[in-house]
Amino acid sequence: MIKNSVLLITMLLLSYGFWISSDFKTVIAGISIFLFGMLSLQQGFRTFTGGILEKVLKAITNSLPKRLCFGVITTMMMQSSSLLSVLVISFISAGLLDLAAGIGIIFGANLGTTTGAWLVAGFGIKVKISAYAMPMLVFGVLLVLQKSKNLQGLGYVLTGIGFLFLGIHYMKEGFDAFKGTINLTDYALTGFIGLIVFVALGVMATIIIQSSDATMVLIITALASSQITYENSLALAVGANIGTTVTAILGSLSANIKGKRLAGAHFIFNVFTAMVAIIFMKQFIWGVDWFCLQVGIAADDYTLKLAAFHTLFNVVGISVMLPLTKPLARLLERLLVDKVGAADKANFLTASALQFPDTAVEAVRKETEHLYNNTIHLILKMMGLHRREVFSEQNLDDVIKQYQQIPDYNLDDAYEYSFKGIYSEIIAFISQARFSWELKQSGRLHWLREANLKLAESIKASKHLQKNLQKSSVSHNIHLKQQYDNVRVQVADLIRKLEIIKSETAVSELPLLSQDMLKARLKEQNQVLLETIEKLIREHKITPEMGTSLMNDSAYVYDIQANLMSMAATVFVNYSVETINVERKIALTDTELLQVINPQNREDLID
């Protein structure tokens, strides 16, 4: 309601402005075209880079200078820090980047945005750039209409730059035309009050326009047309730096707590830098004059001096804040506390993770791991066991002896409470993500969806097993009881081993082939169990009815184990290992594994 009212009032005010002044209309149209150009440029980079940004981002997390350079160069190329902010927030939310690394990139992006001011002040104002805009728009639109994604991307980049140039041209035209009718410098304010008022105006303008780059261009064009004083333009630039954090804060609303922390860091950095600039404004002005004298910028070239000021106060801010990156990250972690993830709700499937293919895949992988934790909790409870003993180093036979009686456990309710909700959310998220991109990541998402299905199947098998397992725990037939206890040991043993594999994801050598050992052992255990059952029936130690139930249940046990193993092969294996494709080819099939465990083939192999 409030949002709609604000929009309506803004539109009415703009309409009134257009009615009373055609020059005002030209300036506002210039801003709109400039913003549209930025959107087009971002769209172009998204299509054109096709995941390159994400790859580079993953590779540069290890060093601060690399992060800074990445922030500077990317923002310089895209002339907007918004896309980079969204990218970094998504990566942090998905856990692919830590907060300190994200802060480094955001610092770099802040410096990168200052290059825009240099370009506009040095080139945009002094050259008739609308002449360059027209051919760019023509070629850009031609390329956008092509089928090839790369050409389309290039087309969006060209139309984006074309619109940026056209926007600057209209802003300049509008302010130039103002000169004849109104002189805004009549409203100029001096002293500390002037500084504060114009900082506030800069903040407001940036919040309304939602882009500090567009505000900077507006300030530069107004300054070039002498519609504002140099001192007031410096204050406006400081305000634009504070106002831009609003975009980051709005972007972080759809992110999890990690993304919110980064937006917090961005806010603290920009507000701190602005404070430094306000307090030491006189020193900054002196510093800019000195710098311009050294590099040969004329004393009355105020647009370039503004660009120099913009860069200088950002450089000072970064120099002061850079050594404080880690303490700042720690402070934000303490201030914005991560709530303990609810067991029955999805913790990683945020809207911001959906923004990029890599972050979506990582979010689904982590959520599947979360669902796996819930699944093993259900399976262990169904067998009357607890995580703490199973994950300890205690002998599993002793653990089973400790919990002879299997208490009642409503598996249906537990499934509804701690499995189905998350499972449904994962499937919905994957459908949304697969709809958004037709990239190779959609293959990985397919396998993750299968992994979730395997977890559901393992619970289904547990449900079938539960009744007889409970009955056996109070059975007077010692042989039957012993076999069911063996079953519990086998399932618990696999869960224990998977926990070890899970924690070794990053370091395991030949991760996929190592799982063949476990698979072979499961098959062998199953075979031994079936042979034992036959023997017990033969020796009349259990009735044939008991034997058939046990045989059916051994199939369910194998289902539970095989499904958990299959899930682990997708979720716990480090797929970035270079040899993973070769491992896939060498990994043994079910038939090959059966041949291996066949006792006749076993002799003479170890010579």
Partner: protein, 80 residues
Amino acid sequence: MNKVKLLAKLEDFFDTDDKKNVEQIESVLIKLKNKLIKIQRRITQCKNEAYKTALQLEAEVLVAQIEKGENFLKMLHQSK
């Protein structure tokens, strides 16, 4: 650059995937063989029968994997 050199370079370029595959299989085979040697050593030293059986199964899986890998490598060489 003469035609023969150019053709050789082109052939190399199109063969890169196969070459990479061969190198990776060879490196995986080396790792598997090293693993097998270690397990064989543990089998000879092991006195616990149950543990020995488990180790033997691991060794058998490794042997099967090595065999499969070597066959795959042969196939790649033959297809050249």
